[in-house]
């Protein structure tokens, strides 16, 4: 065969070389024909001899060789085959021959057929190894698990050596044999026939469709160098469910893991129209016939009764239930302990819920490895998250247990282990049957029952002892455990005649857990004799004849039982006197004694016996140096301190009473040890604001000496009443006040002083408001000298009402106030002085003025009333320069020469004075037309106008005729007279504005409004007084109009020029016109308010 290959190679090279050189298609065709020719020649040559030798093996031991017979060789022709294999061996065979496997290397094989001889070179590499077709021994199915089980024989005995085998298995489904799966399975040939098993679980229930299985193999012999090929596929075997005619759904009640996929099918002969998973429609997968399937992916946890899968046919429905859940979680918090060392209780938590209940619920098995015993958990539906427990009977002589708790459900299993020494894990039961019995008044026996066998261990028990109104006491007791479960202990150090409540709990040593507390057991201990005598004190009666003995009832701890009675006796050096028995509720006895010294003894008795006697001397040890002190407490008590006195050998006694009570006063007393130097006296009877007397006694040889007397308050309060005060004396400038003490009961504290307030005020108007607000008009006197009982208030005003207030205060606060109104007496001297001084001053001023006027009368006359006025000094004439200068429009008097041409002295006594003014008719005045031309209505009359007497105006000619100058003296007091009818002047004056007019043309009867209307005219028309006369308000008290303040009629109180009504005295002092013109009256002297 190899030769043929070589022969073929040579022409091939030639063809290749030619092809390289030839480029045309023709050459290609020619070459092809040539090649075909050569091949045909070779083929013809081969057909005439045996050719195509092939060898295969299926067991590596025998080669099965075959060749093609030469043309013309009939069936049954014999060949001689010779193999050169170290030795020359020839076989006469027919067409095929089985030869032993040749050793590795080339071997020459010669086949003679008649005259033709064919030679071949045979090598193991040219041999194909094709294993025999495997045969399936058995194919079975577990329908419940949808598992196929395959069984076959590897026939390994035919192979000379061990080899690896690869089995390939294919799964086909449905009648049309859809390949579902092809898997491999590796085994090893071991020289023996071996039956192999292989299982496969289908994702589809096997009932749903026919499943087919085929198998082939591939043997990988490492020493065989030839071609290793797969065997042929075995015959297919199938599994099908022999269904009856009933419709069924598969799988039935399957338990699967949450999240997995599952296929559910309905094997039916009816047409399925609908498939539901719960309430969800599912697409149908059609199988053989009418069978259908649905596939559920990633299924969620089922509810308790499972997930329903329903297939609906036309008139019926079929279904199954799938339970999707979880495998059991690892048991958590596994704990094993014992209550009684007889039985072990193991508890655990199941962990994650499995969503499986009922028969699919997790089952637990507790296995103990040392003993090999196990117990199973009897299934009971335990609510979720509740612990499970199992009881394991303890084994004798075994203390250490190795527990394995196995949890199992259809989806899997888990386990948890615990190694425990049960003697260290004892959690005793609750002690029961607690009983108490007397031993004596201070001890009892306590017994209880504790189930369990604790003989080998020690118990640690705790006894809780509760006493009424006391902190509970815990006593730990270690005791050896017993088998009979009964325990008994003695409890001592109890108080006699006391109700106790006992309860017990126990644990073991080493400690693991306490049991629960037992029920409480209450018990009253028996009585004992009183431990001490009663606390005793004595007081002499107020008449000093009887001695009253007081004692305090013993406390419960001291009485040790119910006190039935007391025995009181008094003894002296000579005799002992005993009183009759005093029954318990009474704690006082009175004995008539003389003033001799007696020792009083008091004994308390109960049903068991008498207490030791309490003794006290009847007489006090005198103390001459005794002072009363004060003390203030802390609200609920009062602290008393004293100096240490080594002479006091017994104790100190502080007794106290309400200070307002009569003697003998005793509220209570308190004894303190002799080494004490202070004590706090507390009592529920103490009230704030109540004064108490405290007496400190020191004891020497059963005799008491009063050391200190203290008055005090536990808390000071403000007085409840104000001091009662009266006015002892009143003068014009002082008041003497006296007050009384406040009673102690109402003082409610130590008096620290008084506050005295006073102010001016009437009873009805003055209210002493805001005493503490610091009003400046209130004067306060703080009287800290509490012995002071009077107060004189000085520097008061006479005949004035004063408001007096008095209040007392303590450290607790201010007491209420008490007020009183007092009027001081009148001060007559002051009044007289007040009248006389102004009168005197007025007289002096008048006299001085008169003297001055008299002595300076000439000067005054020259100054104010000259006989011939100096025109240069006339301000009226200066007016021309000052006012009209620079104003050509203003026509003023041009004073050339102002010589009075007529002076007439008039009598002033007549009601209508006949006065003739000196009339100066100036050139300007004689030309009224000129001025009227400019201002026809408001003509300006500018003239020097002495006072105009209307009667004189009626005869101007006479005036003009007279050439002598006259001086007119006008009584300034009567100047109103010529102005009686001012309204008639313009009409009756024939001269009108042409003649000489007085400078001031005052409309004495005109209203203020009229004057105001003419104001502008006045300013511009002629000479006017330099001051606004409207502002003058000079009132002459003698003037008939002086009382009419609204009148515009004025009078001049100062000297005035005869031709001017302006004051000629310059108003240096603004007061002067008023004062001089205002008049003076005596009443003004006393006027407080000048404006008034």
């Amino acid at each position: 065969m190899m030769d043929i290959f070589l022969c073929l190679k040579q022409p091939s090279r030639m063809v290749d070389s030619k092809r390289m050189r030839m480029t045309s298609n023709f050459q290609w065709i020619l070459l092809t024909f040539l090649l075909l020719y050569l091949m045909n020649q070779v083929s013809s040559q081969k057909k005439r001899t045996p050719h195509d030798l092939k060898c295969v093996t299926n067991n590596l031991q025998v080669w099965d060789c075959s060749w093609r017979a030469p043309s013309g060789a009939g069936r049954g022709a014999a060949y001689e085959v010779c193999i050169e294999n170290g030795s020359h061996s020839c076989y006469r065979l027919e067409k095929n021959t089985k030869i032993p496997a040749l050793s590795p290397g080339d071997h020459e094989v010669t086949i003679n057929f008649g005259s033709s001889i064919s030679k071949f070179t045979l090598n193991e590499k040219d041999v194909s190894f094709i294993p025999d077709t495997p045969e399936i021994l058995n194919l079975s199915a577990d329908f419940s698990t949808s598992t196929l089980h395959l069984k076959w024989n590897d026939k390994g005995s035919v192979f000379p050596r061990h080899s690896n085998v690869i089995w390939e298995i294919k799964i086909l489904r449905k009648k049309n044999m859809e390949i579902v799966k092809i898997m491999t399975h590796n085994t090893t040939l071991n020289g023996k026939d071996t039956v192999h098993h292989w299982s496969w679980t289908s994702d589809m229930p096997l009932e749903c469709a026919t499943h087919y299985v085929g198998i082939r193999c591939h043997i990988d012999d490492p020493k065989f160098s030839g071609h290793k090929e797969w065997s042929n596929w075995s015959l297919l075997k199938n599994i099908s469910w022999s269904s009856d005619s009933q419709t069924k759904v598969f799988p039935q009640d399957k338990v699967i893991l949450v999240g997995s996929d599952i296929t559910v099918c309905c094997v039916t002969q009816e047409k399925v129209v609908l498939a539901l998973i719960g309430s969800t429609n599912c697409p149908l997968i059609h199988l053989d016939g009418e069978n259908v399937a649905i596939k559920i992916h990633n299924i969620s946890a089922s509810e308790s009764s499972g997930t329903n899968v329903v297939f609906s046919v036309e008139d019926n429905m079929f279904g199954t239930v799938i339970f999707a859940g979880y495998p059991p979680d690892i048991p958590q918090k596994l704990n094993c302990e014992t209550y009684d060392l007889k039985e072990i209780v193991c508890t655990w938590n199941p962990g994650r819920p499995t969503s499986l209940v009922g028969p699919r619920n997790t089952s637990y098995t507790l296995f103990e490895s040392f003993s090999g015993k196990c117990v199973r958990y009897k299934r009971a539906e335990v609510p979720t998250n509740e612990s499970y427990q199992l009881f394991f009977q303890m084994l004798s002589n075994q203390e250490i247990y190795n527990f394995t708790l196995n949890a199992r459900n259809p989806l899997g299993q888990s386990e948890s282990t615990l190694l425990v020494n049960v003697t260290e894990k004892v959690h005793p039961h609750t002690p029961t049957s607690v009983k108490v019995k007397d031993i004596n008044s201070t001890a009892v026996t306590l017994s209880w029952h504790l189930p369990g066998n604790f003989a080998k261990i020690k118990l640690l028990c705790q006894i809780e002892i509760n006493k009424t109104n006391s902190v509970h006491e815990l006593r730990n007791i270690t005791m050896k455990g017993v088998e009979n479960s009964s325990y008994l202990i003695a409890v001592d150090k109890l108080n006699p005649y006391t109700i106790y409540t006992f309860r017990i709990r126990c644990s073991t040593k080493p400690f693991w857990k306490w049991s629960k507390w037992s029920n409480e057991k209450q018990y009253l201990t028996t009585e004992a004799i009183p431990s001490k005598g009663p606390d005793t004190w004595r007081e002499w009666s107020s008449d000093g004849k009887n001695l009253i003995i007081y004692w305090k009832p013993l406390s419960i701890n001291e009485a040790n039982g119910k006190i039935l009675s007391y025995n009181v006796s008094c003894s002296s050096d000579e005799e002992t006197q005993s009183l009759s028995e005093i029954l318990d509720p009474q704690h006082k006895a009175e004995i008539q004694l003389d003033k001799n010294d007696y020792i009083i003894s008091v004994v308390a008795k109960n049903s068991v016996g008498s207490s030791p006697p309490s003794k006290i001397a009847s007489m006090e040890i005198p103390n001459d140096d005794l002072k009363i002190e004060q003390a203030v407490g802390m609200g609920n008590g009062i602290l008393l301190t004293w100096n240490y006195d080594p002479n006091m050998t017994c104790d100190y006694v502080i007794k106290w009473c309400n200070s307002s009570r009569s003697e003998p006063c005793l509220m209570d007393w308190k004894k303190v040890p002799s080494n004490s130097t202070e004590t706090v006296i507390e009592s529920d009877q103490f009230r704030p604001g109540v004064r108490y007397n405290f007496f400190l006694y020191g004891c020497r040889n059963q005799g008491y000496q009063l050391l200190r007397s203290i008055i005090g308050y536990v808390e000071e309060l403000a007085p409840t009443v104000a001091p009662n005060f009266t006015v002892e004396d009143t003068s014009a400038d002082s008041i003497l006040v006296r007050w009384e003490d406040i009673p102690v009961e109402e003082l409610r504290g130590f008096l620290r002083g008084y506050l005295f307030y006073f102010e001016k005020g009437e009873r009805d108007t003055s209210k002493m408001r805001g005493l503490e607000s610091g009003r400046s008009d209130i004067k306060v006197k703080n009287i800290t000298d509490i012995s002071q009982k009077t107060l004189r208030i000085v520097d008061l005003q006479g005949k004035t009402s004063y408001h007096l207030v008095l209040r007392a205060y303590t450290d607790g606060g201010m007491g209420p106030e008490k007020s009183m109104f007092v009027v001081t007496k009148e001060n007559s001297v002051g009044l007289i002085i007040a009248i006389l001084i102004p009168v005197a001053v007025a007289v002096i001023v008048g006299v001085v003025t008169s003297i001055l006027c008299y002595r300076k009368r000439e000067w005054i006359k020259e100054t104010f009333y000259p006989d011939i006025p100096n025109p240069e000094n006339c301000k009226a004439l200066q007016f021309q320069k000052s006012v009209c200068e620079g104003s050509s429009a203003l026509k003023t008097l041009e004073m050339n020469r102002c010589t009075p041409n007529n002076v007439e002295v008039l009598e002033t006594r007549s009601m209508v004075p006949k006065t003739e003014d000196t009339e100066i008719i100036s050139a300007v005045a004689e030309r009224p037309e000129d001025s009227s031309d400019v201002e026809p209505e408001n003509h300006v009359v500018v003239s020097y106008c002495p006072p105009v007497i209307e009667e004189e105006i009626a005869n101007p000619g006479a005036d003009e005729a007279g050439g002598a100058s006259q001086v007119i003296y006008i009584d300034i007091q009567s100047m109103y007279q010529p102005q009686a009818k001012p309204e008639e002047e313009p009409e009756n004056d024939p001269v009108g504005g042409a003649g000489y007019k007085p400078q001031m043309h005052l409309p004495v009867t005109s209203t203020v409004e009229d004057l105001a209307a003419e104001d502008d005219l006045d300013k511009t028309a002629g000479y006017r007084p330099q001051a606004n006369v409207n502002t003058w308000n000079l009132v002459s008290p003698d003037s008939p109009r002086s009382t009419d303040s609204s009148s515009e009629i004025v009078s001049f109180g100062s000297p005035c020029s005869i031709n001017s009504r302006q004051f000629l005295i310059p108003p240096k002092d603004e007061e002067s016109p008023k004062s001089s013109g205002g008049g003076w009256s005596f009443t003004n002297f006393f006027q407080n308010k000048p404006n008034d």
């Binding site: 719960g278 309430s279 308790s304 009764s305 329903n308 429905m317 009922g358």
Partner: protein, 203 residues
């Protein structure tokens, strides 16, 4: 009337005409049947709730598998004479308790935490038994021949249904539903039949 079934006035048995007593008995039994009808409706509702979807979905009509020994009231039931109807009622009520017990046991596995459902099933079995006895008593009082205690059919039915219920969970659910439905049907049927006898009812 036997003392066992109870009497409001025991002394009236011998001194008073039996007719008012019969009426009272019928009235009591009718009231019991009416009460049990309400309970049976609640039981059916509760049962459906615990079976999961599609049970309880509107339009869901599960198959009505036959129950051995117990059939639904026949359509011609109303045409029968009243005593005959009551006899059939009593017979059905006698079969129902063991069936309800089987259903309760199966539900105890499926829904162990559905305490109310389990209690209702347990009560239903007891109440069916009591109602059956009461109907028997009425029949006796009426002078009609009673079927007497028939334990065999009941036991056979229970065995049959127990076998059926173990076949699979789904069939068991359906069977339980069927039993509950039959219970309701028979109790309401009994109520109707007793209503025929009760005062004021159609004669």
């Amino acid at each position: 009337m036997s003392r066992r079934e109870g009497s409001l006035d025991p002394q009236a048995d011998s001194s008073v005409s039996p007719l008012p007593h019969l009426e009272a008995k019928i009235q009591q039994t009718h009231s019991l049947a009416r009460l049990l009808t309400k309970y049976a409706e609640q039981l059916l509702q509760e049962y459906v709730q615990h079976q999961g979807d599609p049970f309880g979905l509107p339009g869901f009509s599960p198959p009505r598998p036959p129950v051995a020994g117990l059939s639904a009231p026949a359509p011609g039931h109303a045409g029968l004479p009243v005593p005959e109807r009551l006899r059939l009622d009593a017979a059905a009520l006698a079969v129902l308790p063991p069936l309800l017990d089987v259903v309760r046991r199966r539900q105890a596995e499926l829904n162990p935490r559905a305490a109310r459902l389990l209690r209702r099933l347990e009560d239903a079995a007891r109440q069916a038994r009591a109602l059956g006895a009461a109907v028997e008593a009425v029949l006796g009082a009426l002078g009609a021949e009673t079927g007497g205690p028939r334990a065999e059919p009941a036991t056979a039915a229970a065995a049959a249904i127990a076998a059926a219920a173990t076949g699979g969970v789904f069939p068991a659910k359906v069977l339980g539903l069927r039993v509950c439905s039959l219970y309701l049907e028979w109790v309401s049927r009994t109520e109707a039949d007793l209503g025929q006898l009760a005062p004021g009812g159609p004669a």
